[in-house]
């Protein structure tokens, strides 16, 4: 990767620091695809040094107070797109209500990077390995996209369309992430396999399920770094849905997930390893989520 690093930012651009969402959207409307939003810059500046993107205009959204918040309400939690990961990691509400998301954030990059990086940037960068994506998908989170002509919302699951590609249209930006409260007796977990904590995942997985009597319901399993976008393992989910989560069944669910994914071989891992490790971590994550329900009730 470093081979292509120019060690400078080899392009000139206009730089703007809007103070409101409205101003940012007007700039986006004016500049169209020549503009890039700058949030934490931890992905974007690296890409600019590598000449992978060469915007003519940068719109820094870090100075917009109305994009930086964590609000706990009756139906769920709303998070401003420019909220820093470090702030989310310190939020009691996130830790209590969405432990899989909390875990994912705590093990991303380093403290220094988490002081800069935002949750919106992690989603909009649309890396197949983005660590916040699988937890947000299993919790049924939605993103709010805004442009000068209005707003729309979309499930996080439908936001990613390919590596580095999202459903955002030119002129749109991500303003908010909404995560619904989970039903009582829900357990969830996140596991990441990487070379070091700083590294992007070879594979990451988040699961969530609700226990009724002895059986698992609302089973959701989402994986990253195993397909062109973060994905749900729907066949694996269906195999567990409505059934008692026995050891044999959990292992079987891991195997089904491992067949469902479409991994490639790249600098971080081989396709074969990704398939093998998926079997194990899907079952492990389900065990952890179940343990959480059995011990703590709501989680």
């Amino acid at each position: 990767m470093n081979r292509f690093n120019t060690h400078i930012i080899p392009v000139a651009f206009e730089y703007h620091e809007p103070r409101t969402i409205r101003e940012a959207l007007e700039l986006l409307a004016r500049w169209g695809e020549d503009a890039k939003i700058l949030a934490g810059g931890t992905d974007l500046l690296v890409q600019m040094k590598m000449r992978r993107v060469e915007p003519k205009c940068l719109i820094n959204i870090k100075g917009i107070p109305e994009l930086d918040y964590i609000r706990e309400g009756p139906t769920g939690v709303r998070i401003g797109a420019a909220t820093r990961l470090r702030r989310l990691e310190r939020s009691g509400a996130i830790k209590r209500l969405f432990p899989a998301l909390h875990r994912a954030i705590r093990w991303m990059a380093s403290v220094q990077v988490r002081n800069m990086a935002t949750i919106g940037g992690n989603l909009c960068n649309a890396s197949p390995a983005a660590d916040t994506a699988p937890p947000l998908i299993v919790y049924g989170a939605r993103v709010k996209l805004a442009s000068v002509s209005g707003e729309r919302t979309l499930p996080v699951e439908d936001f990613f369309t390919g590596p580095g590609q999202t459903a955002m249209r030119p002129g749109e930006m991500l303003t908010e992430i909404w995560i619904p409260r989970q039903p009582e007796v829900t357990g969830s977990a996140f596991i990441k396999v990487a070379r070091t904590a700083m590294d992007l995942a070879k594979v990451n997985v988040a699961v969530a399920l609700t226990l009724k009597g002895w059986s698992a319901f609302n089973v959701r399993i989402a994986l990253g770094s195993v397909a062109p976008t973060p994905m749900r393992a729907r066949e694996a989910e269906a195999a567990l849905e409505g059934r008692p989560p026995t050891e044999d069944l959990l292992r079987r669910v891991g195997e089904i997930a491992s067949e469902e994914i479409r991994p490639i071989t790249d600098v971080r891992s081989t396709a074969e390893y990704r398939r093998e490790v998926t079997k194990v971590i899907v079952a492990d994550a389900l065990r952890e989520a179940l343990g959480m329900v059995r011990v703590g009730g709501v989680a």
Binding site: M1, I9, V11, E14, E17, L45, K62, V111, Q112, M198
Partner: protein
């Protein structure tokens, strides 16, 4: 603020002093500090956010200066290791680094000291795991980290008068 491809004026507080520099919007904070302001304790390493050599404190928080644009510090406060004690009167963190022998080649030391200072400013009594987590983002190729962790805990003892086990 607004600027074209040419010059841009950035005003900020550097180690407690007001500075005003004309630079380019596409200069990183690292470029600004090293090239314009000649602060060479801020090292140029990987330039991709991995090694932590370029760490500075912005409004008291450790960040990567290689991943920030110069205009992003307009109106803010930047601290480099020059703003942490001086040769006559070392900061307790610096004293502890000397005493614990936590310095070998010294390349990572400014970044380590800043990271440790920011940690202790917020959490004067960190456990070992918290110390390790804080310095995980700063790579040291010499010491093996044990002495650095010891130095940070020694500094904590001095500052707060105690450490947790």
């Amino acid at each position: 603020m607004r600027a074209g491809g040419g010059g841009i004026v950035v005003r900020f507080t550097l180690n407690g002093r007001e500075v005003e520099v004309t630079t380019r919007p596409n200069a990183t904070l690292l470029d600004l500090l090293r090239n314009e302001l000649k602060i060479l304790s801020v090292r140029r390493g990987c330039e991709t956010g991995e090694c932590g050599m370029c760490t500075v404190l912005v409004d008291g928080l450790p960040v990567r200066s290689c991943l920030m644009l110069a205009p992003q510090v307009d109106g803010r406060s930047v601290t480099t290791v020059e703003g942490v004690g001086d040769p006559e009167r070392l900061h307790p963190v610096q004293e502890a680094f000397v005493e614990a022998g936590a310095v070998q080649c010294g390349f990572c030391t400014p970044a380590m000291v800043l990271t440790a200072k920011a940690l202790l400013d917020r959490d004067p009594n960190p456990d070992e795991r918290t110390v390790k987590e804080a310095i995980l983002g700063v790579l040291c190729r010499c010491t093996g980290y044990a002495k650095i962790v010891r130095a940070v805990r020694l500094a904590a003892e001095r500052v707060a008068g105690g450490v947790r086990e």
